[in-house]
């Protein structure tokens, strides 16, 4: 996994704010071991990934080693340790999607965005992830873009989706240029 944009550029919350937020979330859970996974899920729901600082705080809260928290977190497919792109793309490679050409859809996204499965574009706009079944097998092949399920995917649709975002981005950029007074 690689991503090369600097953290400031991508507008990530700074460390102090992050620590404050995580601490507030931890207050909602007692320190019982059974809360470990729910806590990690809660943090990821919110920050979209598990930052190293957050892991340390969770370990302290439950009273176990950080290595143990990593041990649990890395076991499950859900947890991410790098921030995803602004528009996360998930391509389904479940069986139904596989037999209807899901891997061709994945390849098309990879080629179009110039990144591989598990990576994020350098401008942090897109990330690609392969998933095993999102439960819409009747519409195979399926991709999930920004939480929207796209059924009956085809290479031409990949092109359309990426282009749609590029156009939107250009429009926003243009508007920003025209309104210099607006805060970023």
């Amino acid at each position: 996994m690689n991503y090369s944009a600097s953290e400031e550029e991508a507008g990530l919350p700074d460390k102090i704010a992050l620590e404050r937020d995580v601490a507030a979330r931890l207050k909602g859970f007692d320190n019982h071991r059974r809360n470990l996974i729910p806590i990690l899920q809660d943090i990821q729901d919110h920050f979209l990934y598990l930052a190293p600082e957050a892991i340390l705080m969770v370990a302290e809260h439950i009273g176990i080693g950080a290595s143990e928290v990593y041990g649990v977190a890395t076991f499950y497919n859900q947890f991410r340790f790098h921030p995803p792109g602004r528009h996360p793309i998930k391509v389904c490679l479940g069986t139904a999607c596989h037999v209807r050409g899901g891997d061709i859809i994945l390849e098309n996204f990879e080629r179009k965005l110039g990144i591989s499965d598990g990576e994020t574009t350098t401008d942090r706009e897109f990330s690609i992830e392969r998933v095993a079944c999102v439960g819409c097998c009747a519409l195979a092949p399926v991709a999930v873009v920004d939480e929207n399920i796209q059924g009956h995917m085809a290479p031409s649709k990949v092109e359309g989706i990426v282009l749609g975002y590029k156009i939107e981005r250009d429009r926003i950029d243009r508007e920003r240029e025209n309104e210099p007074g607006e805060p970023a």
């Binding site: 899920q41 041990g71 499950y76 069986t95 139904a96 819409c136 097998c137 009747a138 195979a140 059924g151």
Partner: protein, 630 residues
């Protein structure tokens, strides 16, 4: 909804809800599940809402947003009750006409109803459409009359009356005897007798006891459980409460995979509603029985669907299985007796209590009673969720209900049982679908995934796909599974990329045997099934890959070639425009050619070439050999 404090209260509220519904004689149910939502069902339902209002029909027509109605292929699906008129792929533009003709009057909008592909006859009623006609929708039919967000809908169809019956006087032992007598078997894969498992947990020493719903649905390519949890969560919850009562548990869990956000939301809502109505909590319906449930979100690991692994996950640990000699039904969560059943298993419980043991046993076969829900997907015309009595032949599911293979292609095989199952070829299409027959044929029932494959599906690639999935999902605790799967994957990768050797098939068979015998849990023990069954039925395909370096189904990239047929090419140039590798070269004004050394076999030219020309052809075999042959 007020709190119900006795079984009598429950009966009254059931009658009230039913008569409340009758006040509006017509209902339009619009499927609002993920599949149909992506086809625009939300806008469709909005359009109905405002149009019903506009045409002044709010007093007589109600709108319901429901869960999966099954026929996902033709979504969005809407059904008008009580006439059971089914409209397929209706769009907001069609709404005024539907509201005026069908909801206001009794006319049918012909162009929106199902058209039989062979006879061309239009069929409006749900019960006449072949996709529905050949099914037995005992569990799924409720989806059309229930809005999951509204417990009153469930009350109106007699919801929680099975729980009422049980609490009003069926003893705990009697409930277990009923479940045993019904011969209900677990729907999560193994088909273990449910009553016996309940009895074991009930008799096991240790308090407290737990009951758990397995909603991990790990089989990639199946979505039955999602549909239950999204569509009728109360049905599952009612089964769980009854189980808790019979077994002597006061606490239950729903384990639901995080990939199903709507299911999580609907179950959460159902639990809150049930709590408000006094169906969860202390002294349920005045019976003295206390019971409550929690949701655990599965964090995504196939192996965590296994019983002991799932319980480890609930405890907050790595979701790894443990050896089978300790049964979770005796020592499960925190080493307490814990009874785990699949979503669909629990959903069957109220049916049995309400309709009786004899009724249930009358459905299905001697050893596999009741119905089974399958997710029918892949290369089949009518994809969707189907519910059939056990024992029905595969052929009927795939051809009568599924409408056969699309585009006139030839049926090759059907895969059942997910990554632990196997493929069944055409010669086995008359096999009755039940737990034991499928097992004998080298596959298994699994949780109900059914993936149809046609002549364009490569069987070696299918085996490779499953082994890759399993190798990735193996927890690594035991060596046969961790290393064995890795080696099998290496061999299969070799075969599919043209590096297969004589002896590979035998080596795969040997490794399979080791995995079956020596793995710790059922993941490893059943992992060889996809390989063994494809070798058993399609050995010639393996041999073509290994000996002739050719993929007969034209799937394995390294063993196929794309070419442009000079005769058919009209020189439109779309292939060149779409080729990402610059491999399509223009020879003259009207002729294009693929440079085989540059070609990355992405198939972009193949999809780009207009169907009416079909000039780009996909051939089986490596380019060099093609060149020699040409």
């Amino acid at each position: 909804m007020k709190k119900l404090t006795s079984v009598k209260d429950l009966e009254i509220v059931g009658r009230e809800c039913a008569s409340e519904q009758l006040k509006k004689p017509k209902t339009i149910t619009v499927c609002s599940e993920t599949g149909c939502l992506t086809c625009g069902s939300s806008k469709l339902a909005d359009a109905f809402e405002s149009e019903i209002e506009r045409q002044g029909l709010s007093g007589t027509v109600s709108l319901r947003r429901s869960a999966c109605l099954g026929f996902c292929e033709r979504g969005p699906v809407s059904i008008i009750l009580p006439q059971k008129i089914c409209y397929l792929q209706a769009r907001p533009e069609d709404v005024p006409e539907i509201v005026q003709k069908t909801l206001g009057g009794n006319e049918i909008v012909e162009r929106l109803v199902y058209k039989d592909t062979q006879t061309g006859v239009r069929l409006a009623c749900v019960d006449d459409i072949p996709f529905y006609k050949h099914q037995m929708r005992l569990l799924l039919a409720n989806n059309a009359v229930i809005d999951a967000a509204n417990i009153a809908d469930y009350f109106a169809i007699g919801g929680y009356s099975a729980l009422g019956k049980v609490l009003a006087g069926i003893g705990k032992d009697e409930v277990i005897e009923m479940i045993k007598g019904s011969k209900l078997r677990g729907r999560g894969g193994g088909g273990f007798p449910v009553g016996i498992k309940w009895q074991t947990t009930k008799d096991a020493p240790g308090e407290p006891k737990y009951v758990i719903v397995n909603g991990d649905e790990g089989d990639p390519g199946a979505f039955m459980d999602r549909s239950f949890l999204e569509g009728n969560p109360h049905g599952v919850l009612e089964g769980l409460i009854i189980g808790g009562y019979a077994i002597g548990a006061n606490e239950g869990f729903f384990y639901i995979r995080q990939e199903y956000p709507v299911a999580l939301e609907n179950v959460q809502l159902a639990i809150e509603q049930a709590r408000k109505c006094g169906l969860l909590g202390k002294d349920i319906l005045g019976s003295g029985f206390d019971f409550d449930v929690k949701i655990h979100r599965g964090a995504g690991a196939f192996v965590s669907g296994e019983s002991s692994a799932l319980m480890n996950a609930i405890e907050g640990n790595v979701g790894e299985p443990r050896p089978k000699y300790i049964h979770t039904s005796e020592k499960g969560i925190w080493d307490k007796p814990s009874c785990l059943n699949n979503v669909e298993t629990w959903a069957n419980v109220p049916l049995i209590i309400n309709n009786g043991v004899e009724w249930f046993k009358g459905i299905g076969t001697e050893a596999s009673t009741g119905t089974k829900v399958f997710s029918l997907v892949g290369k089949v015309n009518n994809t969707g969720l189907v519910e059939v009595p056990m024992g029905i032949p595969l052929r009927e599911i795939i051809f009568s209900i599924g409408g056969g293979v699309p585009k006139g292609k030839k049926f090759k095989a059907v895969q059942t049982g997910g990554p632990s199952g196997g493929v069944l070829p055409e010669s086995l299409l008359d096999l009755p679908v039940d737990f034991d027959e499928l097992k004998k044929a080298g596959s298994m029932m699994g949780s109900g995934g059914m993936i149809v494959m046609d002549e364009d599906t490569c069987m070696v690639d299918t085996a490779r796909y499953y082994i890759e999935f399993l190798a990735h999902e193996s927890c690594g605790k035991c060596i046969p599974c961790r290393e064995g799967l890795r080696q099998m994957l290496n061999i299969l990768n070799d075969i599919t990329s043209g590096r297969g050797k004589e002896g590979d098939i035998e080596l795969l068979e040997e490794l399979s045997e080791t995995l079956q015998e020596a793995s710790l849990c059922a993941l490893g023990q059943s992992a060889p099934n996809p390989v063994m069954s494809t070798i058993r039925h399609f050995r010639d395909e393996y041999e073509a890959h290994i000996r002739e370096k050719r993929c007969p189904a034209r799937v394995c990239k390294e063993l196929i070639t794309y070419e442009i047929d000079e005769e058919k090419c009209k020189g439109c140039g779309l292939c060149m425009k779409n080729c990402p590798a610059g491999a399509v070269e223009q020879i003259d004004k009207k002729q294009f050619k693929i440079n085989q050394t540059k070609c990355i076999k992405c198939g972009a030219c193949f999809t780009a070439c207009p169907e009416k020309f079909s000039a780009v052809v996909k051939k089986s075999g490596k380019p060099q050999e093609q060149a020699v042959a040409a």
